[in-house]
Symmetry: C2
Subunit: 274 residues, 2 copies
């Protein structure tokens, strides 16, 4: 029963997140419906995603897998899924994976970008893809605060109150504040082994409140020590967040067939932001 | 009666163009309604734009003016207009202009960018801001064809059949094909003194059809010679077009007051793409 791995980009604005919902539109729901139709299956085909992105969160490098027992080719899935979903979902790549591959369990790390638009007025083109922050941000302070997250910590205070994960220790490889040189965008790049619910958004909310002078810089350390969510900043809005990349220990590249090409650089790493 | 000059950016997706309409939403209509409310005027305030952008066309550097006889400040207009219009319209800058200033008549040139997404699948994030062209484009040929437009020509064959302009000779300063180095975007930059209705879009449609091998490269010369619209290519879709800049002979800079700052570089030229 071949396993197919999909690399997916989507504008999350019009979806209630990745996870399938009873009534609302979701990315998983759209892909499941399309696949079930392509495979002419009696039962819904399970599409397993690497990350359950929240409502309104975007992705440039989401990864998912499914299994099937038909003679459909990789191209059938690529063309079919892109044809049957709306233009705000794009299957960037599809390929045959090892039978052992599991989009979520095999993942070794993820990289997110959180984008802030630091200007008096809303950006007319990027309004759905960033958090509009008006006040003056102390970017140097934000950068130094961000570095405190790097390494292994208990992130119990940096997650949603609804998060049910039994473990809260996670390892961050990179938490960096990057300012655009031309425009007033400020990006927070977060890369780590795994994430708790809303974790990136609470981290960014806290970094921004410190940057605005509303919270003291010592708060990050305090929250990491106490695990008290109430001491951290607000949860930054979903629309600023993009899942850029999911990392796996290694890939079996399938050569020409699955590579749709052009959309991203496939030469160096399996999944790259475009 | 002070004259106020506005620099405006907008995402044209949800509007029926610049020009005010009886029923449909337009940029001019939204600004007129907002200004009339800010000035508490009995009659609608006329907002004169530099360019009547088509339905679905975007702007980063549209310029407009209006006159008023109140004691409202530049900041009242800036805050008021940004507050009363939707987030897809942004007043980037406002300033007091010479009484003789007229956004349309004083303009000496305009620069447009037409963006093509040359890829097999639709771009999930830029889908409303480019023309999705699937086939292989001969970009070198396109670049050489584009150069034929530079200089003074009769553009009678490169306009809408509904265009009512009595003169059709225009002067193009720059028509250039620029490929993105990272992603499969191909931009056509067009700069000239003035433009006929749909002129940039018919030029781009012709350049693209030549790039796809559907029209011979000699067509541009033929259409410029004969003025026969039927020999030119299709009108490229509106959504790929952005008005980047309107040029004026000179500006009286008003110093701190009107400069909202940060959104674009005001140091060198009056209006710059951000």
């Amino acid at each position: 029963m071949p396993t197919i791995r999909l690399h997916i980009a989507y504008d999350g604005t019009n979806y209630h997140g990745w996870q399938i919902q009873a009534r609302d539109r979701s990315i998983e729901g759209e892909l499941t419906a399309a696949l079930t139709r392509i495979l002419d299956a009696d039962e819904a085909i399970k599409v397993q995603g690497a990350s359950r992105t929240d409502s309104g969160v975007h992705a440039r490098g989401q990864v998912a897998h499914f299994r099937h027992d038909t003679d459909r080719t990789i191209w059938d899935f690529c063309r079919g899924l892109n044809g049957l979903t709306d233009d705000d979902i794009c299957i960037v790549r599809a390929e045959v994976a090892d039978d052992a591959f599991h989009a979520r369990h095999s993942a070794r790390g993820k990289r997110y970008r959180y984008r802030i638009w630091n200007h008096r007025f809303v950006h007319p083109f990027e309004r759905h893809r960033c958090w509009h922050v008006c006040g003056t941000l102390d970017q140097e302070l934000m950068a130094s605060v961000a570095r405190q997250f790097v390494g292994e910590h208990d992130f119990a205070g940096f997650r949603s109150v609804h998060c049910s994960s039994p473990t809260t220790v996670r390892c961050m490889k990179r938490v960096e504040v990057v300012a655009d040189t031309d425009e007033p965008f400020v990006d927070v790049i977060v890369e780590g082994d795994a994430f708790l619910q809303h974790m990136v958004r609470v981290m960014v909310g806290t970094i921004v409140e410190i940057g605005l002078g509303r919270l003291d810089a010592s708060r990050v350390h305090q929250v990491l020590e106490t695990g008290d969510r109430r001491l951290a900043g607000r949860t930054a809005p979903a629309q600023g967040l993009t899942l850029c990349e999911v990392r796996y220990p290694e890939f079996d590249w399938e050569g020409d067939e699955p590579n749709i090409g052009g959309f991203y650089d496939a030469a160096s790493t399996p999944i790259t932001c475009y």
